[in-house]
């Protein structure tokens, strides 16, 4: 009988043992480190200085964060962002859900055409949409007011009043995003077994009952996903007001959103409306981050409650 004595192999660390695998997934992490973590650390340092981006930096401690609450601009921008979010993002999610349910009806003729038409605005440039909305809602020259005058309602100062500006921006969000959310809901709806609807129909359930008792509960994960991504996107609103208001902030700063305020302080463009201050822009960035964290926490809580129920 021959016995072999195996030498115990030294245990190599996983990173050495699987170096090829680690190298393969490294691009994302290296890029994330370069363009995610490093700027984040830099933003901490930046928020403690006052700097126009070209001259000398001046250390100001936490003054930039105090400015967020003392100068009123950020609070106004936060208020506008929330208002436009409520006016635009909530209706678009509800509208997309209803639209998706209607379009998922197999008896509907030309479903594919409708789906394509609804999705088309999503692939249209936001800048182009903003320019078109500027033309449509012009007080004296826009077709919307011409139509309102034609039916006897009279012209509405859409782009010349605070609420008008917020409503037009909300309408742009609805028009641009409806098709995108609808496609996600349609994907969710396709995962619901048709037998459930057939059985409910045999049991005498009407369309509303089927919607509330089958569609909504089974679509809940999709609804939560859309709510989270929609909220994060909605709170980072910038291009729509910037283009719609031709670089201005609208009457009573009604088009000033959090992201727009940050971009203004970054000193973008040749006709800066404020003196650039990268430190303040960084502080605004942190405030937006904090608002998004709170929102994500609320969403997470909502999701957990849903699961428990």
């Amino acid at each position: 009988m021959q016995t072999t004595t195996e030498r115990p192999r030294a245990k190599r660390p996983a990173i050495v043992k699987h170096w090829r695998e680690y190298l393969s997934i490294s691009p994302f992490f290296i890029l994330f480190l370069c363009f995610g973590i490093v700027p984040l650390i830099y933003a901490i340092q930046l928020s403690t200085v006052s700097w126009n981006g070209l001259g000398e930096q001046e250390f100001v401690g936490l003054d930039q964060f105090k400015r967020l609450f003392t100068e009123g601009e950020f609070v106004r921008a936060l208020g506008n962002t929330v208002l436009i979010f409520v006016l635009g993002q909530i209706p678009v999610i509800l509208g997309a859900l209803v639209g998706a349910v209607l379009l998922s009806n197999r008896r509907l003729v030309g479903r594919g055409i409708y789906q394509t038409l609804f999705f088309l605005p999503q692939v249209t440039s936001i800048v182009a949409i903003a320019v078109i909305f500027q033309s449509l809602f012009s007080r004296d020259y826009g077709i919307v007011n011409r139509l309102l005058e034609f039916v006897g309602i009279g012209a509405v100062p859409w782009l010349n009043s605070p609420w008008g500006v917020r409503i037009v921006i909300a309408l742009m969000i609805i028009w641009h995003s409806l098709g995108y959310f609808m496609v996600i809901f349609l994907a969710g709806l396709s995962g619901i077994a048709p037998e459930l609807y057939e059985a409910a129909e045999i049991d005498g359930a009407g369309p509303m009952r089927r919607f509330w008792s089958i569609t909504v509960p089974l679509l809940r994960p999709t609804i939560v996903f859309v709510a989270i991504t929609g909220s994060i996107g909605g709170l980072q609103l910038f291009t729509q007001p910037q283009v719609l208001l031709s670089g201005g902030t609208g009457p009573a700063d009604s088009g000033l959103t959090m992201m727009y305020l940050q971009v203004m302080y970054l000193g973008t463009g040749s006709s800066a409306s404020v003196e650039p201050d990268l430190g303040y822009a960084a502080a605004i960035g942190w405030a937006i981050f904090f608002v998004l964290i709170v929102l994500a926490a609320l969403n997470s809580r909502f999701l957990k409650l849903n699961r428990e129920n």
Partner: protein, 413 residues
């Protein structure tokens, strides 16, 4: 499988190494030059002109909308900068880092291009270094529709019309007559406000002591602001800003029949009115001539070919390059050498054959500098907002003006 992982690991390594190398900024060799400019601030055929003039160099022209963002990023790190940059009306903002630009005087600038003298100080920093040379300028004109002014009982000939509407009071009367007939003779109250500042060679700062001193709280600002607010209160303005879709609609729908503005607004007037239109004319502005500076050609000190970069920057301010930029892009030249050019003075069918170039040339030649400072664009923006708030929300002009002065009197130049 193991082989596949090995191959993908090697490919990943190579891709990462090359992409990081690319991110770290590429160098340029001795015969390569890069120019950054906004899409509308250079002629569309500038590459051909440069290739002819500098056959030994490979010159790339990058048309970038966000040129200021890119330039500021580059200047912060002193890397990834072009050799030449054409900067817009905000050139004074860069004087803080003037040492990162080349002084044209040290690279043989003698003004053989015949650049109009009043534009040169606006391209100089506090020490008198010639950082930039004008590639275009903005003489102001009084654009009007000949057919409509005739309808209102005014002469349609530019000289006669200018004589009839020669003062600001005449202009306000003309605007009232237009309004009574259902038209508008003022696009934006802010344009009227700026016209008056330029006519007074004033742009919020006094440079008499060398350093810019904020003199916003002056009778010139007040007069310009209150008279513009007066036009709003009398409903004489369309309240549409040039370069907006609303402005285009106002022109296209025959509502806006006259306006004051810099010559380069011809670039938006023609497409809005229709290139085949022949009813528009241009006259001297009421209240006197006015002209503002435009873009400036600069060369960066980081260039590996400083002499060539300065030469290219100077060429972009030459009559040859400016003639092409005017023909192709409507950019009014800042060189007097072109003001008698036969091709440019031949008359424009859009203006019914009128020598519109000659009108602007006369204004440009006789203008005086309204010198801007770094903080000027912030004050300009605030003035525009204040006038818009009066138009949109009916705010009281007097208190809005006082708020505007209070908020901006300490803006530094």
């Amino acid at each position: 499988m193991r082989k596949m992982i090995k191959i993908s690991a090697v490919v990943t390594g190579v891709v990462m190494a090359s992409s990081l190398a690319a991110c770290s900024g590429g160098g340029s060799n001795e015969n390569e030059l890069t120019i950054w400019a906004r899409p509308a601030s250079v002629g569309s055929n500038v590459e051909e002109l440069l290739a002819e003039e500098f056959p030994d160099y490979d010159i790339t022209v990058s048309r970038i909308n966000t040129i200021d963002d890119n330039l500021r990023s580059g200047l912060r790190t002193n890397s990834n900068l072009p050799d030449v940059a054409i900067i817009g009306g905000n050139l004074p903002e860069y004087f803080e880092v003037a040492d990162q630009f080349l002084d044209m005087n040290e690279h043989g600038f003698t003004n053989e291009q015949e650049i109009v003298e009043w534009t040169l100080p606006a391209g100089q920093d506090a020490e008198g270094h010639q950082i930039g040379l004008p590639t275009d300028i903005g003489p102001w004109g009084f654009f009007y529709r000949a057919d409509k002014v005739e309808e209102l009982g005014y002469p349609s000939d530019p000289d006669e019309f200018a004589a009839e509407v020669s003062t600001l009071e005449d202009y306000e009367e003309f605007a009232q007559a237009a309004s009574d007939a259902g038209y508008l003779a003022c696009d934006s109250p802010f344009s009227y406000y700026r016209l008056q500042l330029a006519q007074n060679h004033y742009m919020y700062f006094d440079f008499s002591d060398g350093e810019p001193k904020n003199i916003l709280d002056s009778p010139i600002t007040e007069e310009a602001f209150m008279s513009s607010a007066g036009l709003i209160e009398d409903d004489l303005c369309a309240n549409v800003e040039p370069y907006s879709a609303e402005w285009n609609s106002a022109v296209a729908q025959d509502s806006l029949i006259a306006f004051v503005g810099p010559g380069y607004e011809e670039g938006i007037l023609k497409p809005a009115a229709g290139e085949d239109s022949d009813v528009w004319r241009v006259a001297q502005t009421p209240g006197g001539t006015a002209s503002l500076t435009g873009s400036y050609s600069t060369a960066l000190a980081t260039s590996e070919n400083p002499d060539a970069a300065a030469e290219v920057a100077m060429f972009l301010a030459s009559p040859e390059a400016m003639k092409a930029a005017y023909t192709e892009q409507g950019l009014f030249p800042g060189t007097a050498a072109l003001y008698d050019d036969e091709d440019l003075r031949a008359g424009d069918p859009f203006y019914g054959g009128q020598d519109a170039f000659g009108v602007f040339a006369e204004i440009a030649e006789n203008a005086e500098l309204a010198r801007a400072a770094a903080g000027g664009s912030v004050i300009e923006s605030e003035a525009r907002t204040a006038l818009q708030e009066i138009a949109d929300r009916g705010l009281d002009p007097e208190s809005t003006f006082q708020d505007f002065i209070e908020a901006n009197s300490d803006v530094e130049g």
